[in-house]
């Protein structure tokens, strides 16, 4: 197993760094070009959300294995304002920043597993995984 690698998010440049890290890791794990693009795009969305809504946070990328299936796991953590209504923000088109509102629902579609936990005033943690086919 390769070691986990983390990217700190505090500027829009870090969004590029995080998605490049995710793509490079996915490639090293044997994901094909389309999955690499899916994973990098999901990370781009989640990293931008950290930058926009929490200011700072981190994204950790690691290899995972379950029942001899290999995959990639992305953990996005911030100590920002949190999300009061998760069902609402998971709807296509919902945005509090006049964005497209596609980041969270889109990232969920692009990954195989998507788990979001958030508490108002404490921050948000999103864990998502994609399995190699």
């Amino acid at each position: 197993m390769t070691q986990a690698k983390a990217a700190v998010i505090r500027s829009d440049l870090d969004i590029v760094i995080a998605r490049t890290l995710a793509r490079d890791t996915a490639k090293a794990l044997g994901f094909g070009a389309i999955d690499q693009a899916r994973i990098a795009t999901a990370v781009s969305e989640l990293a931008r959300n950290i930058f926009l809504y929490a200011g700072t946070g981190s994204i950790t990328v690691r290899e995972v294995e379950r029942q001899s299936r290999k995959g990639i796991e992305i953990v996005c953590e911030d100590q920002g304002p949190g999300i009061p209504d998760i069902d609402l923000v998971m709807q296509d088109g919902y945005s509090t920043s006049r964005g497209m509102g596609m980041g969270l629902p889109g990232a969920k579609r692009l990954m195989d597993e998507f788990d979001i936990r958030s508490h108002e005033g404490e921050g948000t943690t999103i864990v998502c995984r994609k399995w190699r086919t």
């Binding site: 969004i15 690499q36 964005g99 497209m100 579609r109």
Partner: protein, 127 residues
């Protein structure tokens, strides 16, 4: 922070911009502003944006591209995107963005040919 400006070339009455670097948000917004200003200044009939080197188009860049096409359209300028990688096109659709009003062509050469026929059919009555 203007270290990453994307050059915009003018050939005849068509502007061509080729994005060769990973765009961070600020440079992408700068590009949109530069391009719209240049459309205004040159009265270009068409714009080709070549995305061959882009390996990620997320909702931020996707929206920016849609905005460029809509705003250029208001100025009477057609926008054609070229070189969208298959993986990027698939991801865009899965993400939920389909860019319905944006014209695309396989590569720069085909984009230029498309632009030629577009500006010919709409051009003559305007002048």
């Amino acid at each position: 922070m203007d270290s990453l400006r994307i050059p915009i070339l003018k050939i005849g009455d068509v502007l061509i911009a080729s994005i060769q670097v990973a765009l961070h948000d600020a440079s992408a917004v700068q590009f949109k502003d530069d391009l719209l200003q240049k459309i205004h200044d040159t009265k270009a009939r068409g714009v080709i944006v070549d995305l061959t080197a882009l390996d990620v188009v997320d909702s931020f860049i996707g929206r920016l591209i849609a905005d460029i096409a809509a705003m250029a359209g208001l100025m009477g300028t057609r926008v054609v995107l070229t070189g969208l990688q298959p993986a990027v096109a698939i991801t865009l659709v899965e993400l939920g963005l389909e860019l319905p009003r944006v014209l695309t062509a396989l590569n720069l050469e085909k984009g230029l040919a498309m632009m030629q026929s577009l500006t010919e059919e709409s051009g003559d009555d305007a002048s």
